[in-house]
Structures are given as C-alpha cells and as structure tokens.
C-alpha cells in the first residue's frame, strides 16, 4: 500500500479519536452563503511528495498544523502580556482580563526582577514596576495570584535568567492554594541564549545558565510535567531587527543547543522535548509570516526526528505562541496600529499558532491603557469568531506562493543553521557575537530602506498627518515604589533570617558541586528568600556576563 493512503487513514483515525475527546466547536462549518466548509482541503491528486512535504494535519512533518482538527476543535489561547507596578495592581488587571474572556495569563516582570535585583538594590533605580510587575519575594507572588486559582489557569511568565526562582515561587503559591505541582500549567520563557543575542536580561555567563536550564528540565519532568519548561523565542530576535529567515534559523539553532545540553546532562530526549515551546513574532509581510510558521513546524519535526532521534510525536510537534511585532507600531497616528495588529495576528492564525498576544495600539508610546488593552483582545476575538478563517485547517496550504515561500524559508534557514553548526553551535555563535552582528546588519539595512523611502511606513515616512493629537496614555504611579520598598524592609525583619541564610548556603554548595539547583531554590523561596538574594548567591558562584 502506498504511504499517502496510510497517512490519510491515520489522520481519519486521529480525527475520530479527537472528536470523541473533544467535539468540534460546531457540527457543521459554513460560509456566509451557507456553503459547507470541509475540515481541510487537499490537492486533486495526493501523492507521496505531498505526504513528505505537507502531510495531513496533526501528522509529520506538521506543515499544516500540529492538531488533527486545529481551530475547528479548539481556538488558540488568547494570552495578553500584562504587568506593571505592584503585584496588587497587576492582579487587578489579570482578573479584569479573565473577566473579559481571556483564556490564559501572561506575566510581565519589571527589569530588576528579570535581572535578579530586589527593588531596593541600587541597580534598580528608576526601573521598579516600569515594564512589568515588581516581584521581590513569595509574598509578592501570593498577591499577584490572589483569588486566581492556579489549578484552572495556565500562566506564561516572561522570565529568563531567574526563571528557576519564579517557577519555584509559582509552585509554592500553587501548593498554598492546595494545587499539586503536577497540576500546574503554563510556561516560563527560560530562553537565555536569545537574551545574549537580543533582549539583554542575562545574568550569568552562558555555561552556568545552560546548567540552570537543564536543571529546570529535569526538575519539571519529575515534578511538574504539565509545565512548559522553556519558550524558545524568535520574537526578540525579530524585534532586534532580524529578517524572518534569521528569526527562524537562530531560534531553531538555539533550540538545538538546549536539546543537546539536556541530552548531554543525561536526559532522554522524549522525556523533556514534549515540554519545549516556541515563541515567534507576527510581523508585517503577510504571506512570508504565514509561511514562516509553517516552515518552522516542518524544520523542527525534521530536526527532532533526524538529528536528535526523537520517537514521540509530541517531541516533534512545534507548539508556539505568537506576539505581533511591537517594533512595527508607530508613535505617529497610533490608531493605525490597530489595523497593523489585526493583519499581523491574522497571519499568525493562518500559520496555526497555539496562543496569541495582540499588541495594544499605544505600546510605542507607553504601557497600554485598559481601553487599548481591551481593543487588542477584541481584535483576536474578531479574527476567531467573525472572519471564518478558523473553519478549515491551514486555509492557505496549497497556494503556489505560500508553498514556495515555505520551501525557500526552510532552505535559507537551514543554511544559516549549518553555518552556526560550523561555528560550534549556538552557544559559541552567541559568545562570538555572530548572530548579534547578523541581526544588526539587517536592522541597519531596514532603517536605510525606510529613510530612502524604499520601504513605506504609513504615518512615518509617508502619509504623515498634520497636528498629532496627544493620546490618552497610561502612566504608572510611582507611589507604589515606596510601598514596595517598605514591604520588602518589613519582610526582611519579619522572616526567619537564620533559615534564609542556611538555605542560601545550601544553594551555594549545590551550585558549586554541580547538583540540581532547582530543589534548593524551591526551599529558599518558601522561607521568603528574595529574588535578589537567590540570584546574588548564584552570581557569587558563577560570575556575571558582560557583552
């Protein structure tokens, strides 16, 4: 029997199984004129080449999507990144967003938290609570999730260098709510390589950072198997100015480095790979973006199967979150950003994203107001419920243009990955600044094209309006900083400092002896050791990275 018939039968079987578990959102899907819409569409003649390149939905190489029914079964998770000021204020925004129909939480932390400084550290001057919520200790984390049941939501945390500490706090809060670690769902970003490349919130040098990451992999496969241990991010690489090809290539090269590190640490690939998640950028070039997501899935499936010998389907399936491109938002005529966001989000949906953050129109100016945050969420709800693009799987699949672009992006990105492998892999390429240089070159080229008006940005270098209206902006009230500092001070007086010191000693020893640090970090947060104290302990052992 020919492969394609087997593959088709396998898909049919999977759909059947899936429908038993979760019926599709509707019994029949129809167009506006009441024409029936099929689950997916295929070429007139399905042959083995089709199976090899595209496959059926939910089947290797997953070009058309990782689920057999995709959005007909379940829409993507609408997950808006939020966080500012104090844990209490952010908790209020979270509960507002959940009330508005958001289906997952996404925590933005302030920079001191992300770089392992307490709010009272001299380095934190001016930054406390600015780009996200300030978390110093478990006490803040308890406030952050007050009245939100961690057994019911999935939470994504944009935290990298101190990911172990925040994950430990999340586990501790869940336990206080009576939720076992194996029940918690969510994602920590935990992708340190792209921090060196593009985002800048690194603490330690690459090697010990990689060790912390593999410690988390090991800990979670044992204790919190439903939690995504990393979100390997092309988002920030793209924001830093890379092309779509570079975003694909560098993200997957970084992913390969994590897989290799974990395998070297003795973990079985199929143990940890199903918990690897990805995070891409939804940018302007509509078709290239859709093709990029499809190429990413096919590339990852091939890499896992052929390069790393993964056996489980789940190890081969690239699951990803998308945020639309913040850097494409303009401070000029900010209302136009709503349209940009809608189009970028549409490309991500046509590319089969598992979750989505749509930016608020005022993000080039400041943090979003509640109004603009709501419009952002509504934008994806409109795509989901009004446009009909969710009624069939991979609606652009089979377009000559899309398929050609998908092939070309894959080819170009694999060429980059080969170059990185020749340099000794992603860790070495980061250390030698290879990727940083490539991205900078692309960013500068883009700027020049813009200034020569080869590229048009509406409202910036063409169609400028006259007088700009001053928009209504969100200002973070600084009064809470004082309160945050006060609470931190009283916490340090109130807690059992002997216990804190003892467990920090224990952490130091674990770090020095190459033991898994995660278990000790969980102990440390439970006695209210702060983010800064834990990170300083590790800084003293590992040193600090400077670019």
């Amino acid at each position: 029997m020919e492969d394609y018939k087997e593959a088709y039968a396998a898909w049919q079987q999977e759909v059947k199984d899936q429908l038993k578990k979760r019926p599709e959102r509707k019994d029949t899907f129809r167009t506006g004129s009441r024409l029936d819409v099929e689950r997916a569409y295929f070429p007139g003649k399905i042959d083995n080449a089709y199976i090899e390149k595209l496959g059926f939905p939910g089947q290797y190489p997953y070009t058309r999507g990782i689920r057999s029914t995709m959005y007909r079964g379940q829409l993507w998770t609408m997950r808006q990144y939020a966080g500012f000021g104090s844990a209490k204020e952010t908790n209020e925004r979270f509960r507002y967003l959940l009330d508005q129909g958001q289906t997952g939480l996404s925590v933005a932390f302030d920079l001191p938290t992300q770089i392992g400084y307490d709010s009272d550290d001299a380095m934190s001057m001016g930054e406390v609570g600015k780009v996200g919520v300030a978390i110093d200790s478990l006490e803040d984390m308890e406030l952050l999730f007050d009245q939100i049941s961690l057994g019911d939501v999935s939470t994504s945390m944009t935290i990298n260098a101190p990911a172990a500490v925040l994950l430990a706090m999340y586990i501790a809060v869940a336990e206080k709510q009576g939720v076992e670690p194996e029940k918690i769902r969510g994602t920590i970003q935990n992708d340190i390589l792209k921090e060196y490349i593009a985002r800048g919130t690194y603490i330690y040098p690459p090697k010990p950072s990689m060790k912390l990451i593999t410690d988390i992999f090991e800990f979670c496969s044992r204790e919190a198997p439903a939690f995504n241990t990393i979100s390997i991010s092309g988002y920030h690489i793209r924001e830093a100015g890379s092309t779509a090809v570079q975003e694909l290539a560098f993200t997957l090269a970084n992913a390969a480095a994590y897989v290799e590190a974990a395998m070297e640490a003795g973990l079985d690939v199929d143990e940890f790979a199903p918990r690897l998640a990805f995070f891409f950028n939804g940018h302007n070039d509509f078709f290239e973006e859709t093709a990029k997501f499809r190429a990413a899935r096919r590339m990852w499936a091939k890499m896992m199967r052929e390069r790393f010998g993964a056996k489980k389907e789940k190890s081969e399936q690239l699951r990803f979150h998308t945020q639309v491109a913040g850097s494409t938002l303009t401070a000029q005529q900010p209302e136009n950003n709503v349209v940009r966001v809608a189009l970028q989000a549409m490309a991500a949906v046509l590319g089969g994203t598992q979750s989505l953050h749509t930016n608020a129109k005022d993000e080039a100016l400041s943090l979003p107001t509640e109004d603009s945050a709501r419009i952002a969420l509504r934008t994806q709800q409109i795509i989901a419920h009004e446009t009909g693009v969710t009624n069939t799987i991979d609606p652009l699949g089979g377009s000559y243009f899309i398929e050609e672009l998908t092939d070309r992006l894959e080819e170009e990105a694999f060429r980059y990955i080969e170059r990185i492998d020749d340099l000794g892999g992603a860790v070495q390429a980061v250390e030698s600044q290879y990727m940083q240089r490539e991205i900078h070159r692309a960013a500068y080229d883009a700027q020049k094209r813009l200034e020569k008006e080869e590229d048009i940005v509406v409202g910036v270098n063409k169609f400028q309006a006259g007088e700009e209206q001053a928009p209504d902006l969100m200002a973070v009230d600084d009064a809470f900083v004082k309160e945050q500092l006060h609470r931190l001070k009283t916490l340090r007086e109130r807690r059992d400092n002997e216990k804190v010191e003892a467990v920090l000693e224990e952490l130091k020893a674990a770090a020095e002896n190459g033991e898994n640090m995660m278990d000790v970090i969980v102990k440390a947060v439970k006695v209210y050791a702060t983010v800064g104290e834990i990170c300083h302990t590790l800084r003293n052992v590992f040193g600090e990275y400077t670019s």
Binding site: G126, G200, A240, T330, Y444
Partner: protein, 281 residues
C-alpha cells in the same frame, strides 16, 4: 574641525539596544566618532566614560520607562564633574508628557520613535558646531530695512512713475559694471528704493527679468558685524551667495544670501556702522 565624538549609552537595566545600535551606526556613517557603552550603565559610569572619551555629545536610550529618573541623573552627574559642556540628548519610548519635563531637567532634545537618523545627525552637528564656535554669538537685532531692490527694464520710465505719482526724486544713479547693473536711488522715509536696470544680456538683473519679469528683486537689511554674521550663518547651514563681504553700489560692505535658505526671498545684508540707517553717504 575635529570629528564630533558621541557616546551612545544605555542607562539602567533596559536591554533593547536596536535603536542605540542603529543610531550609532548612522552617526558613524555621518562621519562622527561613536562609542557605544553597551547595556546596563549607571549614570556615574556613563559620565565617567563621556569625560574619559572627551565626547561632545551623550545620546541616552531607554525603552523601559526609567528615563524620568535616569536621564536627569546623567545631567546632574555631568554638572558635578563640571562637564556641562557635553550635550545630552535622548530617545526611546518616551511619552509626550515626559519630554518637556526632561528638557527642563537639562536634556537638550528628545527624539521619539520614527525620527529619521539623518535629522539626529544634523541636529548634533549644528549643536556641536555652535557650542564649539566660541559659543553661538547673540547678535543685536538688525537696524531695519536698508533698501528695497526693484528690477526695471528702464530707469527713466520707472523713475517718471515714482516722480509723477509719489513725488519721489532720484537722488543718484550709479553704474556697477562688475554686477552688470545701473542703480538709481530714491529715498523714501528711512528706506531707499533701488531701481535696478540691467547692463547688457548677461546681467543677473536681466536674467531675473527674463525669468520672472520686472518687479521686486531683493530686500536689504542693515546690520552690524556683517562678517561675523556670515560666518555664523554659514556654520549653521545657511547657503550664502557671497561668503565674504563685497562693496555695494553705495560703497558699503554687502553680501547676498541664497533664496534657497531664506524661503524664497533674495536677501542682502548691508553693513551700516555707527550711522543711522536712514542717512546716506
């Protein structure tokens, strides 16, 4: 002039340096020496680097919202180091309502997203040149209009119009062969009307008439310190027809500015020292 030296700095913990890197490169391409500090610099570190590197300008970039605290801290630190001559500019995600506050605190200029890099480069050039050139000189306001030049095809015909309807008489007629022009002076209050008649086809006045017809030709402003004004205007990018003063029809030093720089009018500057603008010699 020495190359302009710029320190591009990332104060605070913000890690977004795409803008800082792009600006650094653009300023380098514009011929400046640029030093980039890298991430996570304290105001003290930034000022120390600026003083050590003897820069003319510090460009601060922040996208994290910490600008209100960190930018003024850099300005304050510069004062403490007695290095206020260094120009401080900034950019990033900076809400409009913060810009005035920062400029009040001594940040010279804030550039928001979407600003062309060329604009930033020319702003720096102008400001540094002005700062270096013994500071920008503040001139007295010009004394007034010296004269108005009117291109005519025939002085005789034009003069008869002014005589019969405005009772104005020709005070003097001068030929200036090197400028291809014959000039008649008609005093009118504090101003003089100059009727300009071309001498031959190659005369600039003839060319003017061919192109635009007879009529208003130029406006002459009476100033002191003509030479210094020309130097300063040139430095700040004003296009000059005469870079050095020459002698005008009435024997005073004069110079013309190019209409490209004056929004379309041909302006003449006439030096009038220690005499009232209305008195003719």
């Amino acid at each position: 002039m020495d190359r302009i030296r710029v320190l591009i700095a990332k104060p605070g913990l913000d890690g977004h340096d795409r803008g800082a890197l792009v600006i650094s490169q653009a300023l380098r391409d514009a011929g400046m020496e640029v030093i980039y500090t890298g991430l996570r610099q304290s105001p003290e570190q930034i000022v120390r680097a600026a003083v050590q590197e003897d820069v003319d300008v510090i460009g601060l970039s922040s996208l994290s919202g910490a600008h209100n605290v960190l930018f003024p801290a850099v300005v304050k630190q510069l004062k403490e180091e007695e290095a206020e001559d260094i120009l401080v500019i900034g950019g990033g995600v900076i809400p409009v309502y913060d810009i005035a506050r920062l400029e009040e605190a001594g940040v010279e200029k804030i550039f928001t997203p979407g600003t062309p890099t060329g604009l930033i480069a020319s702003y720096i050039e102008e400001s540094v040149k002005a700062r270096r050139g013994e500071e920008t000189r503040l001139f007295q306001k010009p004394r007034g209009v010296d004269h108005i030049g009117i291109a005519v095809t025939s002085i005789d015909e034009a003069a008869s119009f002014y005589r019969s309807h405005f009772q104005l008489d020709i005070q003097d007629v001068v030929e200036v062969p090197e400028q291809g022009v014959r000039v008649a002076f008609l005093p009118l209050g504090s101003v003089t009307l100059e009727l300009l008649e071309p001498l031959g086809k190659d005369s600039p006045v003839q060319k003017f008439i061919d192109k635009k017809g007879p009529g208003l030709h130029h406006l002459a402003i009476a100033v002191e310190d003509l030479q210094d004004r020309l130097t300063q205007m040139k430095r700040s990018g004003v296009q000059l027809i005469d870079e050095e003063p020459k002698t005008g029809a009435q024997g005073h030093p004069i110079a013309f500015l190019h209409p490209k720089s004056t929004h379309g009018s041909l302006l003449e500057l006439v030096e009038r020292k220690d005499e009232s603008a209305d008195g003719h010699v």
